[in-house]
């Protein structure tokens, strides 16, 4: 895929693409470090590689294409500004770091919307999906994903479902309670206990 639509390829970008499968996370880390010092070409490459994951996250929480597109753009503008703090080594994996910025932005939008007035429509949700290939992950990143999946599955059903609804769809306690048809108190304590157990499980 060409970065700017022209026929001339940026040789650095092509080299990076070829190294991705073996060492994806490190390459994204390099692109972020480059971005931190103002390299827009590197940031563009980072964007091209990660945009479909970020868009998927935004769509699932906001369930509105126009808002998801805006949230996506906001996410990358923030990522550019904050790239230096990632380069400090505090950000976990680059994709996870971007996902956190994206989720945060989407949740800000959701919180400002007030009560959710778009009822969840499974048919509509399916229509939005336009599957894209997942960026290659390195071993450590896959392990991280596997670990949290394993730990989630070890939770009680209410705890797990509540945390998933909160994470993937950005639902509030009240909305989760409505979706699961459970009392608000049960959902609140379930989420808290679930988070504590996740932390314990991941530290093992």
């Amino acid at each position: 895929m060409l970065l700017d639509g022209s026929e001339r390829l940026d040789p650095q970008a092509v080299t990076r693409r070829r190294t991705l499968p073996g060492d994806a996370s490190a390459s994204l880390g390099h692109l972020l470090a480059q971005s931190a010092i103002g390299d827009r070409g590197a940031f563009r490459a980072l964007f091209e590689i990660t945009q479909s994951t970020v868009y998927g996250i935004c769509l699932r929480i906001l369930r509105n294409r126009a808002q998801a597109e805006e949230a996506l753009q906001d996410t990358y503008v923030r990522a550019w500004t904050r790239a230096a703090s990632y380069a400090g080594g505090l950000g976990g994996h680059p994709l996870g770091w971007l996902a956190a910025i994206a989720r945060n932005r989407c949740l800000e939008i959701v919180r400002r919307r007030g009560l959710d007035d778009a009822p969840w429509d499974p048919d509509r949700a399916e229509a939005l999906v336009d599957p894209a290939p997942t960026p290659e992950q390195d071993f450590a990143e896959r392990e991280q994903a596997r670990a949290i999946t394993r730990c989630l599955e070890a939770l009680e059903s209410v705890q797990r479902r509540a945390i998933e609804l909160a994470y993937y769809e950005g639902l509030s306690h009240t909305e989760v309670a409505a979706r699961l048809a459970r009392p608000l108190g049960t959902v609140k304590s379930g989420i808290r206990r679930g988070l504590i157990r996740l932390k314990d499980c991941l530290e093992r």
């Binding site: 650095q12 010092i37 827009r40 996506l72 230096a84 380069a87 950000g91 996902a99 999906v129 596997r146």
Partner: protein
């Protein structure tokens, strides 16, 4: 329970006035910010459960137009020159964590000897403990501590480079971590290669100077290039 508030903030279930109060706390308290980062890392594995969706073409133009700062001068391959603004940003990011490191970084810059590579070495909790830079023109390696992570250790901290499966000692670090290592050209070239792996072990006094590590690894990281892949021209 700050940790639980941080968890719910990252998850997204902290809302309304409680969320606003927490955000104020987050902005003012580095410990709270650290908790939030830890939860973001913990939950980041969930991001892989999202199905990627191809966005419409053309979003990049909107993003690029909003990126602060003038576009850097073009160089071959479209990569930016190593510039003061970016360097300050990087230095400040590290400086927020440790005043000692910031002083060292500014000194490096003011000396006019801009590094071409760096590595952030992290401990087993993925927190940065050391920053390593080359001072190529001086044939030196600068190692700067982040905080006082290396301060209380029994034994000598040694820096190693991993070349394939073999570890070669680079040098011994001062007790507080801040060290300038004078290296011969081949070692400097080996260490300052994009993707080279560095390790720090704590060696028992009796084993100091041995050819292979005897003690535990306390930090590790990978070298990354800064700016252009060739050493930048001297002078602003």
């Amino acid at each position: 329970m700050i940790d639980l508030l941080a968890a719910e903030y990252v998850l997204g279930t902290l809302r309304g006035p409680a969320a606003q109060r927490f955000e104020r706390l987050l902005r003012s308290d580095a410990g709270v910010a650290q908790r939030v980062r830890e939860w973001e890392t913990r939950l980041s594995g969930l991001a892989h459960g999202v199905d990627p969706v191809t966005p419409p073409v053309g979003l990049w133009q909107g993003i690029e137009a909003r990126l602060p700062g003038a576009a850097p001068a073009a160089t071959s391959g479209g990569r930016s020159l190593f510039d003061l603004r970016g360097w300050r940003r990087l230095a400040i990011a590290f400086g927020l964590v440790a005043a000692v490191a910031l002083t060292g970084l500014l000194q490096l810059f003011l000396a006019g000897d801009r590094p071409t590579c760096y590595a952030v070495l992290t401990n087993d909790r993925k927190l940065p403990v050391l920053v390593v830079f080359d001072r190529r023109n001086m044939q030196e390696l600068a190692v700067l501590p982040v905080g006082s992570a290396l301060a209380s250790r029994d034994g000598a901290a040694r820096l190693w480079i991993a070349v394939g499966a073999r570890l070669t000692a680079v040098g011994t670090l001062n007790p507080d971590g801040e060290t300038t290592l004078r290296l011969d050209k081949p070692m400097l070239t080996a260490v300052m290669a994009d993707g080279a792996r560095l390790l720090v072990t704590v060696e028992p006094v009796a084993a100091a100077g041995a050819a292979i590590p005897a003690g535990p690894t306390v930090a590790e990281g990978t070298i990354a290039l800064l700016g252009a892949s060739q050493a930048p021209a001297r002078g602003i």
